[in-house]
């Protein structure tokens, strides 16, 4: 009985430890900073049209404005 509970305890701590390491690695490596190449993306707009960052390469600058939620103030 005692052996079993110790084994269960060990198994649990192993699972928790594994989950922790996974959490760590899922975190973004570093924030995009001034001077960095902006990561490319393709996203759909409010009319279902796709837009890619590379579409604007060599043509226009892009002001990429992230906002919290639609209808949030400002």
């Amino acid at each position: 009985m005692r052996k079993t509970s110790i084994a269960v305890l060990l198994a649990c701590s192993l699972v928790i430890a594994l989950a922790q390491t996974q959490k760590e690695s899922a975190r973004p490596a570093a924030n995009v900073k001034v001077g960095d190449l902006a990561p490319d993306f393709t996203l759909v707009d409010q009319n279902g049209q796709p837009h890619s960052l590379h579409d604007y390469r060599g043509k226009k600058s892009v002001a990429l404005a992230f906002y919290l939620w639609a209808f949030s103030p400002n």
Partner: protein, 109 residues
């Protein structure tokens, strides 16, 4: 986004494309754009993949729940795809700095 709409003519005159991004779905963004007269693209980063890649994925306490959203950040990206200016949080609400940076770059270029 309203503040960007107000500065849109200036930004476009400086050869700058404005793109808004949030984790809302396109239908919510459509309603939001219509109600606020937003004419530039509002992109849907549903699930937050792009926000994570830029390192601005956050969780906000709202309605006693954790709600994921992108931190309010504006990146000015030049024609080579490089980040040349960046404003975060309160600074990112008012696009004046972004407008000034665009106009300055336009004069230089």
């Amino acid at each position: 986004m309203r503040t960007f709409q107000q500065s849109l003519a200036k930004l476009e005159a400086a050869d700058t494309q404005v793109l808004g991004v949030s984790m809302d779905n396109p239908y919510v963004n459509k309603a939001f754009a219509e109600q606020n007269g937003v004419t530039f693209p509002l992109l849907s980063d549903f699930g937050g993949t792009v926000s994570r890649e830029y390192g601005i994925y956050k969780e906000y306490d709202k309605f006693n729940r954790k709600i994921p959203a992108a931190r309010r950040t504006t990146y000015l990206i030049d024609t080579n795809g490089k980040v040349v200016e960046m404003q975060v949080d309160a600074d990112a609400v008012d696009p004046t700095k972004t407008v000034t940076a665009c106009e300055r770059r336009k004069v230089k270029g």
